[in-house]
């Protein structure tokens, strides 16, 4: 064994679109320990509830993260609606699920592209991102934005989708499905890809539970923690929902779980489009959350369970708004998976938790 050396990884690193700093303690080519450091993107966003009223804060909540933007605005709106006892129209619930699942498709395909880039398969990265553009086109047609939609408000949604657009969405998703299966073949059957993922960064079922891991990262270690099973909002109307799970616990399993979740999301969207009832898309919300009223809520974001907590103080301004995001839960698991891995596998393992640093630090 050689002498231990510390190799800094990040904050500026080609594989990371976001700044995360890791101190990798390395002996020869093996990582003994990885110490994550965060704080590069902290803005102090939760404190903004003191100067933005509950309707204005939705635009801030949406900008917690640009990839799961819709999920955050939905999670925040649901929390405040519960706090004020507002029942939103059924059509709005369905529309929220449709946009949220579309966001999951775009987020997972984006991630698969970044993962391909991490193991050095650049043309696969490009193919994933090309496929993703079609989902972004749906967003642009239905909401006007590619990344930030601003369609959720407390009490419902701002825009409706008409039947012609639903037919268009279905047509686009069918097209995506075919091309996506080919991409999946590259990810799940290509031997050079498998060499980089099978057996890498193993996390056992017990470790996953002990470190409270969430999302596809935990589901790849056979932990069933999909918050969609709770049936909040429109998810309660699904005929049948079985989370995608895998027991292998390595990078390959995590790629597989996300790959299958995209197809599952497409099925959910199709079911929702078939079932969506006619009616209003929003109710008027008046008044303010009562002083001392508290409410919590969970949303299954593309990266895992995100927890929201809000407390009112009788005025239009919330007393406290708190989110616990999936990546902050998964960082401990990532450090564990990194211990003992090969230096060349660090990229892949860091990416398989799908780190979203701007959610984590806010």
């Amino acid at each position: 064994m050689g002498k231990a050396t510390v190799i800094p990884f990040g904050p500026q690193h080609p594989v990371l679109p976001e700044p995360l700093h890791l101190d990798l303690v390395v002996e020869d080519e093996t990582v003994i320990e990885a110490v994550p450091q965060i704080g590069f993107i902290h803005r102090g966003l939760e404190k903004l509830v003191e100067t933005r009223d509950y309707n204005q804060f939705i635009y801030v909540a949406e900008r917690i993260c640009g990839i799961c933007a819709f999920g955050h605005s939905m999670g925040y709106a649901e929390t405040v609606e519960r706090l004020m006892g507002v029942e939103i129209p059924e059509r709005a619930e369905y529309l929220r699920v449709i946009w949220h699942e579309l966001s999951r498709v775009h987020s997972h395909v984006l991630w698969m592209g970044l993962a391909a880039d991490a193991f050095g398969y650049e043309s696969l990265f490009m193919h994933c991102w090309r496929l993703r553009e079609r989902v972004l086109d749906i967003f642009e047609k239905t909401t006007g934005g590619r990344v930030i939609f601003s369609v959720v408000k407390v009490g419902g949604v701002v825009r409706d989708i008409d039947d012609a657009m639903f037919a268009e969405i279905k047509r686009v998703l069918e097209g995506i499905k075919d091309d996506y299966r080919q991409l999946c073949n590259a990810f799940l059957k290509d031997s050079s890809v498998k060499n980089r993922t099978v057996g890498v960064g193993y996390i056992s079922h017990e470790d996953a539970l002990a470190m409270s891991m969430v999302g596809p990262f935990a589901r790849a270690s056979n932990v069933n923690n999909d918050a969609r099973c709770l049936g909040n909002g429109g998810y309660g109307k699904l005929a049948d929902f079985q989370p995608v799970m895998d027991a292998q616990g390595d990078c390959y399993a995590r790629v597989k779980v996300r790959a299958l979740e995209v197809l599952q999301s497409i099925d959910i969207i199709e079911e929702m489009i078939a079932k969506i009832p006619a009616g209003d898309i929003a109710v008027d919300v008046k008044g303010a959350p009562a002083a001392g009223a508290e409410e919590a809520n969970v949303v299954e974001q593309p990266r895992g369970e995100c927890y929201y907590y809000a407390r009112g103080n009788g005025s239009k301004y919330l007393e406290r708004m708190r989110m616990r995001t999936p990546t902050s839960q998964n960082l401990a698991g990532m450090a564990t998976a990194l211990a003992g891995c090969d230096l060349a596998d660090v990229n892949m393992i860091v990416l398989t938790i799908d780190p979203c640093i701007s959610c984590t630090e806010r």
């Binding site: 700044p19 803005r43 102090g44 100067t51 993260c65 640009g66 933007a69 553009e133």
Partner: protein, 147 residues
């Protein structure tokens, strides 16, 4: 400008962006908009880069990183602030941990506003940046001749 005399390499750093602008920077490079066909390549090495794309506003912790990347880049170089947070800190301007736009840390040549900035706006900014790069390069050569 009717033709590009140089294919600039870009480096991207996320100062404290929400990811929205970052994925649009990458989307501009990928097949949907495909600026790679003009030889514009995303590099991870500041020493190889001509254009520095910064997204997000600066805070106490990352201001040093932004300055460090800028200092490591070789002259001539152009800085593009991508997104409203990088231009003026946007909706986060009154957050306690936000100093302001990227121009608080390093000189910015082109501002590309938007929340999130659209790939078209980034491409437009890069094209403007190319013109500035050429001017800076000429100024540098004139300086060398004069010396």
């Amino acid at each position: 400008m009717t033709f590009a005399t140089k294919s600039p390499w870009v480096i991207h750093y996320d100062a404290s962006s929400c990811n929205g602008c970052d994925i649009e920077v990458l989307a501009a490079l990928c097949p949907g908009y495909d600026v790679e066909r003009f030889g514009i390549v995303n590099t991870g090495n500041p020493k190889h880069a001509d254009i520095f794309l910064v997204t997000g506003s600066v805070n106490e912790r990352n201001i040093e990183v932004v300055k460090e990347i800028y200092n490591q880049m070789v002259e001539p170089k152009v800085v593009i602030a991508c997104g409203i947070c990088a231009c003026s800190a946007g909706i986060f301007h009154d957050c306690y941990n936000v100093i302001g736009g990227v121009d608080q840390a390093i000189p910015v040549d082109v501002y590309a506003p938007g929340c999130a900035v659209r790939p078209e706006a980034i491409i437009d900014a890069v094209v403007q940046g190319l013109g500035i790069l050429e001017e800076k390069s000429k100024a540098l050569q004139a300086q060398k001749k004069g010396a």
